[in-house]
Each structure stands twice: as C-alpha cells, then as structure tokens.
C-alpha cells in the first residue's frame, strides 16, 4: 500500500464535438479553468462543435429546446417545479429556442462568464490552444478563413494526439 498523494493534473485536452450553446460552454469553462490553475489546456473543435469557432456562427449558438430532456432545469425560471419536463411541443414553437438561449446568455453574463467569441479570445490570450479538426472542416467544406482568429491551427486527429502528449483527454 502506498499513500502517496496523486500527481496533480498538468495538462488537459478537451474535445468539443457539439455546437449547442449549452454544449460549448462546458468546454470553454473547463479549458479556461485549467489555465487559471496553471495547467496547459487545449480545445479541439470537431463535427458540430465547429459551429463554436465559425465567424458566422460564434455569436449565434443556440440552446436546443426540442429533444433536450434536460431542459427541466430551466423550469424554475418559469416558476415551475424543477422536476417538470419541458414540454417538447412548446420547444418547437418559433422563438422558444431563442428565448432559452437569451435566458442562458443572461444567466452567464450575471455569473461574469463572457460570450463565446470573447471566451475563446480569453483562453487564447491565457496561453490555451484552440484547434479545429481537419476532417470535420473538409466534411463541412470550411476553410481556415471561416474560423475566428483565436483558432491557432487546423489539425488532423493524429496531430491532435501528438500535441496532447501527457494530457488528460476530456470529451464533451
């Protein structure tokens, strides 16, 4: 039996494969938090996660209100019990997703959490790395120019793993 304290985490590589506002924020918060703790951090945006780093989309990410069974967490904001499911049919009404998105952005601002574009810049300025997946870029016919400036490089999966040497990998 050894009772040595475990080694602290020194490096994290986060893979963000989804592009909903509620799916992108966790990746940003985890990466920024890692930098704040003095760890190395990178985020690899792939598949629909590319939305978060596209110039045209970075300010337009949405919270999905259809097919999102976890939206019950938003019910208390409407003075309803948290155990009540968010009615799917309501989620399909035009504007409801925008409303949910607006509400989440509002709450985030209250918590001093920046919008996605500002957050990406903040992580990049802090020495964190923002990468885009080459395969997904090819699939969606995107060019490096379509991406925000805080994206450091477009990488193949192999290159991403190479840069992740010694890191804990987190998939979001």
């Amino acid at each position: 039996m050894t009772d040595q304290t475990p080694e602290p985490i020194k490096k994290v590589s986060i893979i963000c494969a989804k592009g909903g506002l509620d799916e992108v924020y966790p990746a940003l918060i985890m990466a920024n938090g890692a930098r704040m703790e003095g760890m190395e951090a990178s985020i690899f945006f792939t598949f629909f996660g590319l939305n978060a780093i596209m110039k045209k989309m970075v300010k337009n990410l949405k919270v999905a209100t259809v097919g999102n069974p976890s939206l019950n967490l938003a019910m208390p904001m409407m003075k309803m019990p948290v155990t009540m499911p968010f009615p799917t049919i309501m989620g399909a009404i035009p504007g409801v997703s925008n409303l949910a998105t607006w509400m989440m952005k509002n709450e985030m601002e209250n918590l001093d959490i920046p919008e996605v574009d500002e957050f990406l810049e903040m992580i990049s300025d802090s020495g964190g790395h923002i990468y885009a997946c080459k395969l997904a870029m090819d699939m969606f016919k995107l060019e490096k120019d379509d991406l925000v400036d805080s994206v450091e490089a477009v990488l193949t999966v192999g290159e991403f793993y190479e840069k992740s040497a010694g890191a804990s990998i987190i998939f979001i």
Binding site: I29, N32, G33, R35, M36, E37, G38, L111, D112, I113, P114, E118, M122, D125, S126, G127
Partner: protein, 105 residues
C-alpha cells in the same frame, strides 16, 4: 489556521495558505508572498495590479475576475498570465493578502 513570521511580522494564514486578515498586509509581506509563488521581484506593475485587487476586494468583497481586469483596462489577459505565471487570479489574490478566489472563471 497557522501563524508564521513573514517580513518581520507574525501573520496568520488560513488553511489554503492565504492571509487570514487582509488588513495585516503590507508591501514587504507582498514581496515575500510573491517569492513563495515563484515571482522573484515584485515590479511596480505587479504592485499596481495587486493594489487593484485590494481595492476591488474592499469595495465589492471579492477579488476581480480575469475578465474584469481585461475589460476594465487594468491589465490585458496575456500580460496578466505573464506577470503571474501558473494561475494568475489565485497568485495575485494571495500576494494581495486576500482570500482564495471562489469563482470558476
């Protein structure tokens, strides 16, 4: 809680090794704390930021976020990370004699 001598005075530290009472702080203590954090010399720029941390703490009860430091023009994020390498918000708060910051961003 533990007391120890630093910069010629006895100072009390909490369990996180942050100063228990920020009013007991002075620049000599700050210089010692900076050394403990691996910052050899506390420059005027460091002091300026540390002072801002203290003023913010006194007016709103909490250390400023990195975002606020950037947005309010006190110090750009890049420079902050260069001045306090390896965890700027925590390090600057500790050198400023404040409690450990509680926020996630």
């Amino acid at each position: 809680m533990a007391s120890r001598e630093i910069a010629g005075v006895t100072v009390e530290f909490d369990d996180d090794n942050f100063m228990a009472d920020h009013t007991a702080w002075n620049e000599a203590i700050a210089a010692e704390l900076a050394n403990e954090e691996g910052i050899e010399t506390l420059t005027d720029r460091h002091i300026e930021i540390v002072q801002y941390f203290r003023n913010e703490f006194e007016s709103i009860g909490t250390a400023p976020s990195i975002r606020k430091l950037n947005k309010s023009g006190v110090v750009p994020t890049k420079e902050l990370y260069q001045l306090f390498p390896g965890g700027p918000a925590k390090k600057a708060a500790r050198i400023a004699g404040l409690k450990k910051p509680q926020g996630c961003v």
